[in-house]
C-alpha cells in the first residue's frame, strides 16, 4: 500500500487521512518547513517539528491550530506512526517518517546535507520508500565549501568598505539570511537588514541560534555614515526599488545555488554571485538517497525527469510525483517572480 499519494490538494497519506505540505486548504496538514510553498494558510490543523513552531506562527499567524512534536519522538494517528527528523534545510525543517503495517516512507520536504550551524543537521532515515526533492538535480551542481563561500563574501565586503561603498547582498529572508549572518565576519563592519529579514532574525535568536548584532535599515537616517561600510541583507524583491536609494553608490550580490551558473548570475544583473544554497547539490542528493536504503524513490519538484531516469539506471524503482512546490529559493531566478 502506498503511504503517500499525490492528490490535487497535495501529498496525501490515505491510512492516516492527512496531507503533507498541501497546496490547497485541508483539515490536517503536516508541515515539513516554513517556506511559503510548503506551509500555506487556511488549513484546519497543523503539525510540525517543535523547532519550526516559531517560524510557522510568525508566517501563518499566531492563532493557527498548531501541534508540535520534537525531532525523533513518535506520534500515532489512525494507526500510522509519524515522526520528524532533521532535514538541515532551515530552522525547524523536518523529514516526515511514516510507518504503517511494516512499511516505512520518508517524505523529505526540502533538505541539505551539509551542516550549517543555524538548524539541526540532516539525518538519514532508513526507509522503504523515500520522497526526495530534486531542485539541483543535475551533476553540474556541486557546491563549493562553505568556508570558501564565506571567505568570498567577507573579502567582497571588506573591499567595498575600504572604498566607502555599501555591500548589498540579496538573499531570501528566511533561512538564507540567517545562515549568512551566522557565517559572516562581523568585525568587518556594521550589518544592516531589511524589514523582511528582521522578524525572522528574532525567531532564530529566540530559538538560541547565535547571530551577530544587526541594525534595522529603517532605524538609520539616510546619511548615516555607517551605511557606507555596511553589509546589507535584503530580499531580492528590494532590488531596483526606491528602498535601495539610501545606499548611494553600492555594490550588489546575490546568494543562491543558482549563482553557480554564469548565465543565471549575469541575468540577475548583480556584481557578484555567491553560491550558497539550502538545498542538496547533486552528490548530496545521491548520498542522501543512498543512505536511506530505499528501493523506491519518489521524486518531486526540480529536475524530476533527470533524477528519475538516473536512479532507474542505477537499479532503483524511481518515479515522479507532481507537486506544486518550488518557490522562494527552489526556483531558478528565471522562473520566479523577482
Amino acid at each position: 500500500m502506498d503511504l503517500v499519494i499525490a492528490r490535487p490538494e497535495g501529498l496525501y497519506c490515505p491510512p492516516g487521512n492527512f496531507y503533507i505540505d498541501p497546496w490547497r486548504p485541508v483539515d490536517r496538514a503536516v508541515i515539513t518547513h516554513g517556506h511559503g510553498d510548503h506551509a500555506r494558510t487556511g488549513n484546519g490543523h497543523y503539525l510540525c517539528a517543535e523547532p519550526g513552531a516559531g517560524i510557522l506562527r510568525s508566517r501563518l499567524g499566531q492563532d493557527i491550530a498548531l501541534q508540535t512534536l520534537p525531532y525523533g519522538e513518535r506520534l500515532q494517528h489512525n494507526g500510522v506512526t509519524l515522526s520528524f527528523h532533521p532535514a538541515g534545510h532551515v530552522l525547524g525543517s523536518a523529514q516526515v517518517r511514516l510507518e504503517y503495517q511494516g512499511q516505512v516512507w520518508v517524505a523529505s520536504g526540502d533538505y541539505k546535507v551539509e551542516p550549517d550551524g543555524t538548524c539541526a543537521p540532516f539525518e538519514p532515515v532508513r526507509c522503504h520508500t523515500f520522497i526526495t526533492e530534486s531542485t539541483f538535480g543535475l551533476p553540474i551542481y556541486r557546491w563549493p565549501s562553505q568556508a570558501e563561500v564565506f571567505s568570498g563574501i567577507n573579502t567582497w565586503w571588506r573591499a567595498n568598505r575600504d572604498q566607502g561603498k555599501a555591500s548589498v547582498l540579496f538573499c531570501y529572508a528566511f533561512g538564507k539570511a540567517q545562515r549568512i549572518l551566522h557565517g559572516l565576519d562581523a568585525d568587518i563592519g556594521p550589518i544592516v537588514v531589511h524589514g523582511a529579514v528582521e522578524p525572522l532574525n528574532r525567531v532564530y535568536r529566540e530559538a538560541g541560534i547565535a547571530l551577530p548584532d544587526t541594525l534595522y535599515a529603517g532605524d538609520l537616517p539616510r546619511n548615516d555614515p555607517r551605511l557606507r561600510k555596511a553589509l546589507v541583507l535584503a530580499p531580492p524583491s528590494a532590488g531596483g526599488s526606491s528602498w535601495m536609494r539610501r545606499f548611494g553608490d553600492y555594490s550588489d550580490a546575490f546568494a543562491s545555488g543558482w549563482m553557480l551558473l554564469r548565465g543565471t548570475r549575469r541575468r540577475r544583473g548583480v556584481d557578484r554571485g555567491f553560491v550558497l544554497s539550502d538545498h542538496a547539490d547533486w552528490p548530496g542528493l545521491l548520498w542522501a538517497i543512498g543512505e536511506t536504503g530505499a528501493e523506491r524513490v519518489m521524486v518531486t519538484h526540480g529536475s524530476v525527469n533527470v533524477l528519475v531516469r538516473y536512479l532507474c539506471e542505477q537499479g532503483l524503482d524511481a518515479r515522479a510525483f507532481a507537486t506544486e512546490y518550488g518557490e522562494e529559493d527552489d526556483t531558478p531566478p528565471s522562473e520566479s517572480a523577482t
Binding site: 551533476p139 553540474i140 551558473l261 548565465g263 541575468r267 531516469r309 528565471s334
Partner: protein, 554 residues
C-alpha cells in the same frame, strides 16, 4: 594562466567600465610581455580556430565525469555553454601550475590542433588536472574558441593607453590587424603596442588600415531632428548601403582590402585588384563593397540584395560563374589618406571634396562615389528616405559636415548617425522553443515562429515556420514566456519543445527573400521580436500572403 583566469573573474564580476579598466590595468602592469601579448589578443576579440573538435571534447568530458551521454546533454542544455558545462562536470583539482598564459597557449593548447584523436585523449586529461575550476573554464574556452568577456576593444585600448601614457588613438592604430588570424602575438608585438611614439611610425605601417569610424543609431522622431541635430545644412546625407564596410589601402605599390572586422579580404574581391595600378600610392578609401549589376536601369537600382553578397562570401573558391553573377564594386564615401598623409583630422566636407576630386582625376572602374542627397529641410530628407526599400538600401547616413574621422563608436571627434528605415514586421506565432545560451542559459528563449498558410476563414490551415528569433524581449517578458512554454509544452524533440500555439509576437526583420531551404519558401534577415502581442489571438496572426506581399516585385 591563473593570473589571466583571475582577470577574467574580475572582468566578469562587474558591470562598471571603470572597475573593468582598473582590472585590466592591474593585470597588464604585472603580466610578462609574452602573456600580455596573448591577453590583448583574446580580450580584443582574437580567436584562434577551434583546437579540438567539439565531439571529442564532449566524449572525453563525459568519460572523465563518469556520466551517461544523455546526462551530459541535459547538463549542457541547462548551462548553455560547452566550456562552462565541462568545467562544472570534470573532477575538481587544485591549481598546480605556475606556467603563464603564453606558455599554455603556445606549448599546450595550439599544438593540439590537427592531432589524432588518440593523442588528444592522452594529452588533455593531464592538462586539465593541473587547473582549478576558473582556469579550467578559461582553458576550455580557449580550446573551443568561445572566449568572450564583457570588454570592448576600446576598453583594452584605453587600458593600454593609460599604462603607456600614449594617446588612445595611437594605441588603436597599432592594434589594427592584431587579432587577425594570420597574426601570432609574441612579446615583441605587445611591446610595440605600448612603445613610446617614434618619428617614423607613420611610414612603418605597411598595409595597415585605420580603425573604422562607426555610426550611432538614430531613433528620434522627425519632429525632434531640428533640436537634436540642428539645421539640415550642417549634415551630409548619403544612402546607407547594405554591403560590406571596407577600407582599401594602396601603399608601396601594393593593395590591401580590410573588412570592418579588421580581416584582410583582398583575395575575396578580384574585381578591385585593378586598383593596384590605378590608385596612387598612399591612398586609403573607406566605403562599402556591394554586388552591382549595372545596365539594368539607373545607377542606384543596380545594387543587389545582401543575400547575393553573402552567398559569395560563403564560397571557398570564386568560380567564373559566381564572379559573373555577383560582381562587386566599392561605393566610396570617405578618404582617410592621400599622398601618404593622414586625413582623418580634416573635416568631413573637406575629405568629401577631396574624395570627389580624386575620383574625377582617377576614374576607377570598380569604384563609385556614394552620392550626396540634397534636401532643404529634414522633412524633405525624410521623404527621400522613404524610397530606401525600393533602392535596396537600408536608410540614410547623416554625417556632421565638420566631423573628424573618429575611432570606433566614439562621439568626441565627430558624429555619424545611421537613420535606418523601420524594419518589416509581421505578427507571428511561437511554435517551438529551445533554451538559450550565455545570459539566456536554461531559459526557453530561442523561438521558432510561424505564420498561417492560408487566410482566415479557410477550411483548413496550418502554421508554417519561417523564422527563428531570440532577441528583443526584456528579461521580465522572457521569464514570463519561459513559464508559459513550460506549461504549454506538447512534445519535446531533443532540446526543442513544441508548444500549443498561444503566443503572438510582432516580428521585425531587415530583409526578405525567396529561399528553397525554408519550408515556407521565404528567408528573412535579422529577425527579432519587436513586441509581444498580448492583444492578439493566434487566429489573427499574419499568413504567408502577408510575407509574399513584402517580397515586392521579383
Amino acid at each position: 594562466m591563473k593570473a589571466f583566469a583571475e582577470l577574467y573573474l574580475r572582468l566578469d564580476a562587474t558591470t562598471s567600465s571603470n572597475a573593468k579598466l582598473q582590472a585590466l590595468r592591474d593585470y597588464f602592469a604585472k603580466a610578462p610581455a609574452a602573456d600580455a601579448a596573448w591577453a590583448v589578443y583574446f580580450l580584443a576579440g582574437g580567436r584562434p580556430r577551434q583546437l579540438v573538435p567539439t565531439r571529442l571534447l564532449r566524449e572525453l568530458a563525459t568519460q572523465l565525469a563518469d556520466l551517461p551521454d544523455w546526462l551530459f546533454e541535459e547538463s549542457y542544455q541547462a548551462v548553455g555553454d560547452l566550456a562552462e558545462t565541462i568545467s562544472l562536470l570534470l573532477p575538481q583539482h587544485r591549481h598546480d601550475t605556475d606556467e603563464g598564459l603564453a606558455l599554455w597557449v603556445e606549448q599546450h593548447l595550439l599544438p593540439l590542433r590537427g592531432q589524432p584523436a588518440d593523442e588528444v585523449r592522452q594529452r588533455l586529461p593531464a592538462l586539465w588536472e593541473r587547473l582549478d575550476r576558473p582556469s579550467l573554464m578559461l582553458c576550455l574556452k580557449l580550446i573551443t574558441g568561445s572566449f568572450r568577456v564583457g570588454v570592448s576593444k576600446l576598453l583594452v585600448t584605453r587600458a593600454l593607453a593609460q599604462l603607456s601614457g600614449l594617446d588612445a588613438k595611437r594605441v588603436a592604430q597599432r592594434l589594427v590587424g592584431y587579432t587577425d588570424l594570420a597574426h601570432r602575438p609574441v612579446a615583441e608585438s605587445y611591446l610595440k603596442l605600448i612603445a613610446p611614439e617614434s618619428a617614423d611610425e607613420h611610414a612603418q605601417r605597411g598595409g595597415q588600415p585605420y580603425p573604422f569610424f562607426l555610426a550611432h543609431a538614430l531613433q528620434a522622431p522627425l519632429e525632434q531632428f531640428e533640436t537634436l541635430l540642428g539645421p539640415v545644412e550642417d549634415w551630409q546625407a548619403e544612402w546607407k548601403w547594405d554591403g560590406i564596410r571596407a577600407q582599401v589601402v594602396k601603399r608601396d605599390g601594393q593593395l590591401w582590402i580590410w573588412s570592418r572586422g579588421e580581416e584582410l579580404v583582398t583575395e575575396r574581391f578580384p574585381e578591385l585588384h585593378s586598383l593596384t595600378e590605378t590608385l596612387p600610392d598612399g591612398t586609403v578609401l573607406d566605403g562599402e563593397i556591394l554586388v552591382w549589376k549595372p545596365g539594368i536601369c539607373d545607377d542606384t537600382l543596380a545594387v543587389q540584395p545582401f543575400a547575393l553578397l553573402q552567398q559569395r562570401l560563403g564560397r571557398k573558391t570564386l568560380g567564373r560563374k559566381l564572379l559573373a553573377d555577383a560582381p562587386v564594386v566599392l561605393r566610396a564615401y570617405d578618404l582617410l589618406e592621400w599622398h601618404g598623409e593622414d586625413w582623418r583630422n580634416r573635416l568631413q566636407h573637406e575629405r568629401r571634396r577631396q574624395l570627389e576630386r580624386v575620383l574625377v582625376e582617377h576614374p576607377l572602374a570598380p569604384v563609385r562615389l556614394s552620392p550626396l542627397l540634397q534636401a532643404s529641410n529634414w522633412a524633405a530628407l525624410a521623404e527621400q528616405r522613404e524610397q530606401s526599400r525600393e533602392l535596396g538600401v537600408e536608410g540614410l547616413m547623416l554625417k556632421k559636415r565638420d566631423a573628424l574621422y573618429g575611432v570606433g563608436r566614439t562621439k568626441d571627434l565627430g558624429l555619424w548617425w545611421k537613420w535606418k528605415v523601420d524594419p518589416f514586421s509581421v505578427d507571428a506565432v511561437l511554435i517551438y522553443a529551445q533554451r538559450g545560451h550565455g545570459r539566456r542559459a536554461s531559459l526557453y528563449s530561442d523561438y521558432t515562429f510561424a505564420v498561417w498558410d492560408a487566410p482566415p476563414g479557410a477550411a483548413q490551415r496550418n502554421l508554417v515556420p519561417f523564422a527563428k528569433a531570440y532577441s528583443g524581449l526584456s528579461d521580465e517578458e522572457m521569464r514570463k514566456v519561459d513559464a508559459i512554454i513550460r506549461k504549454t509544452t506538447v512534445d519535446t524533440f531533443g532540446p526543442v519543445r513544441s508548444v500549443t500555439p498561444t503566443l503572438v509576437f510582432e516580428l521585425g526583420f531587415e530583409g526578405i527573400a525567396l529561399s528553397k531551404r525554408h519550408k515556407s519558401g521565404i528567408a528573412v534577415r535579422f529577425p527579432r521580436m519587436l513586441r509581444w502581442r498580448l492583444d492578439k489571438p493566434v487566429e489573427e496572426a499574419d499568413d504567408l500572403a502577408t510575407l509574399q506581399s513584402l517580397l515586392g516585385p521579383v
